[in-house]
């Protein structure tokens, strides 16, 4: 398989020509009707239709993927397109954004969608005492102005070329203004499917909303049923016995059983989901760049992909920008396992051997403790003694991550470079799990701000490549692997050739994009 990222491919004109000539079978043969039954994990009895609380697949697929819409959406090929917004334009400094909304859109209760709904829905995230995960996104908007019934103007605190991408975030659902409480209680959105029944942590049933603005091209099922199955084995059983048509997140250990079944196919995409080992760069000995470099050469990435992911992933290069990003620096020289180089950098730091603790728990990611032990074994050859500390899974994110100087961690990645960097690599942000700041790299922080407001794509590419290079060489992050999104689908259901890699299950939009075969 070639290692060409889809995004990279699409940005070059020649490749676009090839794709056009190949006559990609668009949705011509998509069949209407039927009932999609999906067994999904990530469900909780505390689930609700409040987008601010969504964090796992079940609700993301139910809300953003079926019942609700956002202003924009990331298409399967990674490009940005309008959902409730039809078009948008930016001022030259990327500070003022004008969004033109789609006309004739109605909520499932019949209310017409307009500019007021956008403003009220976004304000939910910055309301007094709101605990929205999307607060950092909405906070950057200093002013929201209704410039017409179907036009909203956003003024940002600082220029941001990725603003349309940010508006596709699955938390930023559009609710009917003035009826938000009812909409959250009952699930009233503008999406392709209308809620029929929702039992938190058990199941969600929705039917196709007639005359939807997305037309015939999307939302082919008459009805969808999402069944909460958090247990891996139960999910697989349900698929094997034909009680559901598709399941997310298959267990790699039993993958061969699924492959042996001719009625089932495995869908696999490499996205930005990353398993990492961040070090706090303000804590000794990790404040020494040579120690960080030594640790980067002391890890055997390929072995991790083979043994922890059982081949379902690709090696990382110590930057959080992955194959699902636009400006992923694919050509950057790959850091690989080299005990001699690790020893060299250790010597540069004035040491002949090094003893450090590495905190891990399977709460960070499946197999994190095993991965830490593999790291321990490979680092030993370089004179680095890693002591693996097994932390309790309960409270791992509160007590270990961001607190212990070196630990195992997981990130689902972000759709854009700036989003990722400003979530975890901008000086002073709360989730900066490497404490990466100005004293580490002045240049990086400058580029971060400069690239954010840059509308010229080729200039941005250069800047983001340089930032990835800096992290690769000096950063506090060891990123050994990107884990694939792996799901299984019954042959009774068909999907388009290109499946989204931003999130599991075709970016959680299987109800919108798939159809009965």
């Amino acid at each position: 398989m070639t290692r060409i990222s889809r995004r990279g491919l699409l940005t070059t004109g020649a490749a676009a020509g090839v794709l056009a000539a190949s006559g990609l079978p668009l949705r011509a043969q998509a069949k209407k009707g039927g009932r999609l039954r999906a067994g999904l994990s990530g469900a909780n009895t505390s689930d609700s239709w409040d987008g601010r609380t969504h964090s796992d697949l079940f609700m993301i697929a139910s809300a953003n993927g079926a019942v609700f819409d956002a202003l924009t959406e990331v298409a399967a090929d990674g490009s940005i397109k309008g959902e409730l917004a039809e078009s948008w334009e930016a001022s030259p400094d990327a500070k003022v954004w004008t969004f033109n909304l789609r006309s004739g859109v109605t909520f499932h209760n019949g209310k017409a969608f307009g500019a007021d709904d956008v403003i009220a829905s976004l304000q939910l995230h910055v309301a007094e005492g709101a605990k929205s995960a999307a607060k950092p996104i909405v906070e950057t908007i200093t002013e929201m102005k209704k410039t017409g019934d179907l036009q909203v103007q956003f003024t940002l605190a600082a220029g941001n070329a990725d603003f349309p991408y940010l508006m596709s975030d699955y938390h930023l659902l559009m609710y009917p203004a003035g009826q938000i409480e009812e909409a959250i209680a009952r699930g009233i959105g503008t999406g392709l499917y209308q809620v029929q029944s929702f039992e938190p942590g058990v199941r969600m049933v929705a039917t196709r909303y007639p005359d939807h603005y997305k037309g015939d091209e999307y939302g082919h099922f008459d009805e969808i049923e999402y069944i909460a199955i958090n247990d891996n084995t139960a999910r697989m059983n349900a698929l094997l016995t034909g009680q559901v048509d598709t399941i997310n997140r298959i267990d790699f250990k039993t993958e061969s059983l699924l492959r042996a079944n001719p009625m089932i196919r495995i869908q696999e995409v490499t996205g930005n989901q990353q398993y990492t080992f961040p070090m706090l760069t303000n804590v000794a000995p990790f404040d020494d760049v040579n120690i960080r470099r030594a640790l980067k050469f002391a890890i055997n990435r390929q072995e991790m992909v083979d043994k922890i992911l059982l081949g379902h992933g690709r090696v990382g290069n110590d930057t959080p920008i992955g194959p699902a990003n636009q400006y992923f620096f694919e050509e950057m020289e790959q850091t690989s396992y080299d005990p001699d180089k690790a020893k060299f950098y250790l010597k540069e730091a004035g040491l002949s051997s090094l003893d450090i603790d590495l905190s891990a728990s399977n709460a960070a990611f499946e197999g994190a403790v095993d991965a830490a032990q593999l790291y321990q074994a490979s680092a030993k050859a370089a004179g680095i003694n890693i002591n693996v500390v097994q932390e309790p899974a309960d409270g791992y994110w509160s007590n270990v991550w961001l607190k212990k100087p070196f630990c195992a961690c997981y990130w689902s990645g972000r759709a854009t470079e700036d989003w990722m960097f400003s979530s975890a690599y901008e000086e002073g942000v709360p989730w900066n799990d490497t404490q990466w700041g100005r004293e580490d790299s002045e240049r990086f922080q400058d580029l971060l701000i400069e690239a954010r407001a840059e509308l010229d794509s080729s200039k941005r590419r250069e800047m983001y490549h340089e930032m990835q290079q800096i992290l690769n060489e000096d950063g506090g992050l060891v990123l050994p692997m990107f884990a694939n999104y792996v799901q299984a689908v019954s042959n009774k259901v068909a999907n388009p050739d290109v499946v989204g890699n931003l999130w599991q299950m075709d970016n959680a939009r299987m109800a919108e994009r798939w159809w009965m075969a």
Binding site: S46, R203, N237, G395
Partner: protein, 331 residues
Amino acid sequence: MNPVLKIILQRLALGLLTLFIVSIVIFTAVNMLPGDFAEAILGQGATPEAVDAIRRDLGLDQHPVARYLDWLAGAVQGDLGNSFAQANFASFVGADSGVRVTVAQQIAPRFANTMFLAGVTAAIAVPFAITLGILAALYRNSVFDKAANITTLTSISSPEFFLAYVLILFLAVLNPVLPSLSNIYADMGFGERLQKTLLPALTLTLVVTAHMMRMTRAAIINLLASPYIEMARLKGIKPMRVIVRHALPNALAPIINVIALNLAYLITGVVVVEVVFVYPGIGQLFVDSVKIRDIPVVQACCLIFAAAYILLNLTADILSILSNPRLRHKK
């Protein structure tokens, strides 16, 4: 006062005390677990401000003793409060939007599901186990007796999930007669509901049969050496009639006790089976709630579990008194 009534009242009073102690133990235990609701619900995205805000909204910043007394004051008036998840959601929405669900409302459908599963299982397991026990006593030390013993002991000694998977393999995968997914929901017809519940019920039957069957067998065999049985046999009564008419009534007390304990287990101990079959019972709700440290729900579930044990034990005692004329008519 009627002695039976007196026992019932006494035991109910003791039961209340037990519930009180259980509530303290559970409250303390959940509080001792690392992390709390705020940290659990926010997960990786927790920032100190968000954690503080949720703790403030839910009163988690108060002293545990104060929180317990607060809960107790509501509980004795029959108000089990709102779950943290619901209260947190309400504070998100801003005001009371009239959609607030109390713990009792949240548990009720789940509890009904669990009772349905327990009922189906009991309807299969109890007659099956007792019949098997009587037959084993009748043909004791025969091949049938040994086979019954070996089979039931094997099934009780295997972990529940293993039994569940074996049944899934044979009844859902190789011979697709029953669904492996038991996701029952409110507006489902009785027939479909029964069909979906059958596989978990069979699994549980395998788990509880051995205990009841062996107790039936042992209690009957124990009596077979008594002089009155010998008399009956000498009269020329057939062995089956000796056992059913003469031995069984006297053996009822221990059998009823074991049945009661097993029924209590069907309500409180089915978490694993519920997870394997994705059955939306109270066990799953309980595990979910412990995971996010939702103390009001955990407390309510534990009270239900404890009450199930207390009431079923009480019922067993009363029934064994009623089944024994010597205890019924004290001199």
